[in-house]
Symmetry: C2
Subunit: 138 residues, 2 copies
DNA sequence: AGTAAATTTGCAACAATGATGCAATATTTT
DNA sequence: AAAATATTGCATCATTGTTGCAAATTTACT
């Protein structure tokens, strides 16, 4: 279970580059979910917008980060805590969005329940997002 | 329970205009979820892009349609079957996205289960999306 | 039905987000 | 350290969504 940027990159056989390290470190230090805009604000002076897009795509493909479903059209990314195999994420935890501070938190302990679907439907993957007030904002 | 466009508009005290009728009829005839792009393809020749945006916003505010969370950055809308009060949607059904035909289906019969959250978190609203293969694509 | 008031629409312009091709640069491999 | 490979930055473009404002439409009121 590596927890520093370089180890994670090595483990996924990715070149160790400045942008990948910086972006990954930002995820590691932040904890919650991040959007492209968040990252651009944080490291955008050092790296091109396009590089950030491509880095995020690479991280998703390798299973280093995962996408979080939202109803606005913003794409949010969060670190995978379980080690996800490349191309096959197996996070199945609930995501929590705080209405107050707007932070998105991975509830790694809370597993998405299995639901019974109508006849004919074959489930493959589930996502669940709960909104409300987080511990810090109460 | 009105099922035609004009009645729904009247019930929500909205002006009866061509665009609103056409867009609402498209939802009524389609059944599944629609994106702005879907609607633009269908009625885009008749109405301006901006009008479609504003119409969809109005419908969401009035509780005529609701948003469906996605991991790509596309906003999807679907008709509310339960009558949602303006500003307060109370759909709590599971959404199904078919990996084959890419259709998004509201599983009105399937209620989102309640999950137990860690200490401090106060839930307010839940969303659940299941992907897989739908009945028609099997 | 006809007119005034209120609402909605279309247009123009703009901002943000995301994708692609290609040459320059950095990283890895040998 | 040089060659091979991979990544980056730049320029450019497409898509998506927003806002202000004048023109057109719808509704409300006699």
């Amino acid at each position: 279970m590596p927890k520093n940027a370089v180890d994670i990159l090595k483990q996924n056989r990715l070149s160790i580059t400045g942008s990948r390290q910086k972006i990954l470190e930002f995820f590691l230090s932040n904890g919650g979910a991040l959007s492209h805009a968040d990252i651009e604000k944080n490291v955008g002076e050092a790296f091109d917008r396009v590089t950030i897009y491509r880095t995020l795509q690479t991280f998703v493909e390798k299973g280093i980060i995962h996408l979080i479903p939202t109803t606005d059209n913003s794409i949010k990314y969060a670190l995978c805590k379980n080690d996800c195999a490349p191309g096959h994420h197996h996070d199945n935890h609930v995501h929590f969005i705080c209405d107050e501070c707007e932070k998105i938190i991975c509830l790694d302990q809370v597993t998405i329940p299995v639901v019974r679907l109508p006849k004919g439907f074959t489930p493959q993957h589930s996502e669940m997002v709960v909104t409300g007030i987080c511990g810090e904002c109460r």
